[in-house]
């Protein structure tokens, strides 16, 4: 049935034929007549998981298949939601080795986007923790691929955005943890240089900074840098030690309707950022935070994407190489500050070395910003593109909804190789998304 499909940013909207197969035979029946793209829980931001001809909703494949309590290897179908994995396995002492900023993603989507978390420098992206994937190719045959066997297909699948086949099942090595709590240390950084120094010196597993985007001049890059580690039982207050995985249940709120376009402007955003900054600065220093609040602060507000109104929003996430990070970030933040188009969420993370063949991360700093879609903000993003290119930065496809084709290929030479390899194997005929067609992948 035809439906309007969009990503989490609700921009752009694609009118797509959506199919929801429940078994391999039904999925196979969808292949062979033209391009299809698999879709998980719709948490990529732009048009990665939509194709007008056939968008395949994979949430019908959502079985846990096996869990090995000795090794921590979870085997599951691709449509399983990460939050369900945590709910099932954290009480047994296991946590995802890598998690994006929302737990409402599917495992298949995580692998397709080769997601990273606040621990990329130490633990890499999710691809490093995948034992194997089973992928349905254009011929409808299902093949297992791992770093050892069928490694070429494995390499193509990790970070392949679903453009190399449909991920059906996977085995992921979970990480043992002693509690459901994070020992957090919040640092107030008055400027970008200080924030980067804190990142470079950090020895914790997790690190992330929240920016006030409207800071100017000397306070450009004013931020809160939050470092964290999984808490040991001995870190917990005495009354929590008996049940270290029990955390308070968070009340969920839902954004009930689309905010009107005028609700977000430089003054409301400035007020929000000032309040946020003040609220956390007061809590500077060490604290214990439950896993849900630490990793998924926004998941508590269901449908938070509606605060950007009906026109949706675009996320701009790039990574700059380490050597160019300081200068590049300064230019990006200056441009945003000058334009007065601050975003609610400006997040900075330190990434470790590149691993995937076409995955986003590389050694350096990644900045992520949200902008409500408008002519002015799209013009600003074009300006940011020029800064990103000048500093050797590259783009995160899972967040992208608007980067021009030429900019993407100029920024990331691997994309041409990916396109050629897809063409040589005939994968481009069988698998395509609105994004891959927009970007020539």
């Amino acid at each position: 049935m035809k439906r309007d499909v969009s990503g989490w940013g609700r921009y752009p909207r694609v009118t797509a034929e959506v199919a929801r197969p429940r078994d391999e035979a039904a999925l196979r029946g969808l292949l062979g007549d033209g391009p299809v793209i698999a879709r998980g829980n719709g948490r990529s931001y732009g048009d990665s998981a939509a194709h007008p001809r056939c968008t395949v909703d994979m949430r019908g494949f959502s079985h846990f298949l096996d869990f090995d309590a000795e090794t921590g290897v979870l085997t599951a179908e691709a449509g399983v939601i990460l939050g369900d994995v945590i709910a099932a396995l954290l009480p047994r002492g296991w946590f995802p080795p890598v998690t994006p900023g929302t737990k409402f993603v599917t495992l298949g989507g995580m692998i397709a986007a080769d997601v990273h978390g606040k621990n990329h420098r130490r633990d890499g992206s999710i691809g490093r923790h995948v034992e194997w994937v089973e992928v349905m190719g254009p011929d409808g045959a299902v093949r297992r691929a791992s770093p050892r066997d069928n490694s070429d297909q494995f390499g193509m699948t990790i970070g392949g955005m679903g453009l190399t086949g449909v991920i059906l099942r996977c085995a992921i090595r979970m990480m043992p943890v002693a509690s459901g709590w994070i020992r957090q240390e919040t640092h107030v950084a008055p400027d970008l240089a200080t924030a980067m120094e804190i990142f470079e010196a950090a020895e914790t597993r997790y690190s992330v900074a929240w920016f006030d985007c409207l800071g100017q001049g000397a306070s450009l890059g004013r931020s809160l840098v939050m470092l964290g580690d999984h808490a040991e039982v001995s870190d917990l207050p005495a009354d929590r030690r008996a049940a270290p995985f029990d955390v308070p249940v968070r009340r969920r709120k839902r954004v009930p309707l689309d905010a009107p376009g005028f609700a977000l402007n430089r003054y409301t955003i400035k007020a929000f950022n000032a309040l946020y900054h003040a609220a956390h600065a007061r809590r500077a220093g060490p604290s214990l935070v439950d896993w849900d609040s630490y990793f998924y602060p926004l998941d508590a507000v269901l449908d938070w994407n509606r605060i950007y109104g009906r026109r949706g929003f675009a996320q701009y996430q790039v990574v700059l190489p380490l050597a160019a990070s300081r200068a590049g970030l300064t230019e990006l933040l200056s441009a945003i500050s000058e334009a007065g188009q601050g975003s609610f969420l400006a997040v900075l993370k330190r990434l470790g070395p590149e691993e995937g063949r076409h995955s986003f991360p590389m050694e350096g700093y990644t900045l992520a910003l949200d902008f409500p879609v408008s002519r002015a903000s799209l013009a600003l993003l074009d300006r940011l593109d020029r800064i990103t290119l000048a500093h050797g930065g590259r783009y995160y496809l899972a967040k992208d909804s608007r980067v021009p084709r030429a900019v993407l290929h100029q920024a990331d030479g691997r994309m041409g190789a990916f396109r050629d390899k897809r063409a040589a194997a005939g994968l481009n005929v069988a698998f395509a998304s609105a994004q891959s067609e927009r970007l020539g992948l």
Binding site: M1, R20, R22, S62, H63, F64, L65, F67, A87, A88
Partner: protein, 244 residues
């Protein structure tokens, strides 16, 4: 509450499976019952891995009404029985197909009613239990577009109402569930209005809540109670000319 024994009849449906998830997550011991029960092995394994505990499987055919009493007698009597057996059919085609009509009528009324009747007798003898019937808003008034299905559901709703009346004061509680539109395999081909359409998980949560709070008749989305209330108020001589 947890540790109850739950059996779900017609376990292959999306609503049944959503109930299985809710009760298993609450710590109850779930038995799934359906035809071709071996096809639910992956679902049982999934439930066990997610929530711990064990999930049992039993072969059950709602249309084998002679076998219902034996089926009930053959297993430990559960604390809660949920009947999610149902078949939407294809109204337009079924109007001229007696066999198909019989199948819709029997699957939505005779089979579920008689299966729950067998549980009702056993629970009445024991003096405790909860019976949940998944009926439908389609039974609230017969409409041209789905009256074969709707009339069978109307019969099932009346049967549940009678059971509830009979068993009140005997320790056995009866819950009638009218889900309204639900985004399931059964309705995948229909273009349903978003505000009136629940996700299966919503139905599962509503059933768990109804069992725990001792509700009698629930509409999963409150809007449906109003919609069906209004539809029932329309005089027949007007209603017959409408297409809704």
């Amino acid at each position: 509450m947890s540790g109850r024994k739950i059996i779900i009849l017609g376990a292959r449906s999306d609503i049944a499976m959503a109930c299985a998830h809710e009760f298993a997550a609450a710590g109850d011991a779930v038995t799934l019952a359906a035809r071709r029960i071996e096809t639910l092995e992956a679902d049982a394994r999934d439930l066990e891995l997610r929530y711990g505990g064990t999930v049992a499987l039993r072969a059950f055919d709602a249309l084998d009404v002679e076998g219902h009493e034996d089926f009930v007698g053959a297993g430990a009597l559960p604390d809660v029985v949920i009947c999610a057996v149902g078949l939407l059919g294809d109204q337009t085609a079924d109007e001229r197909d007696t066999d198909a009509s019989v199948r819709v009528l029997r699957t939505n009324f005779e089979g579920p009613a008689l299966a729950l009747a067998a549980y009702a007798n056993a629970m009445e003898a024991r003096g405790s239990g909860v019976i949940v019937g998944i009926s439908s808003v389609a039974g609230d008034r017969g409409r041209a577009t789905n009256y074969i299905y709707g009339s069978a559901k109307a019969g099932f709703t009346a049967f549940l109402s009678g059971l509830r009346n009979r068993l009140a004061g005997r320790g056995v509680h009866v819950v009638t569930v009218k889900p309204g539109f639900v985004a399931t395999r059964m309705t995948e081909h229909l273009d349903l209005p978003e505000k009136l359409t629940a996700a299966p998980a919503e139905v599962g949560r509503a059933v768990l809540k109804a069992v725990e709070k001792g509700r009698d008749v629930i509409y999963v989305r409150a809007l449906w109670r109003m919609v069906m209330g209004l539809i029932r108020l329309i005089p027949e001589r007007v209603f017959k000319k409408l297409s809704i």
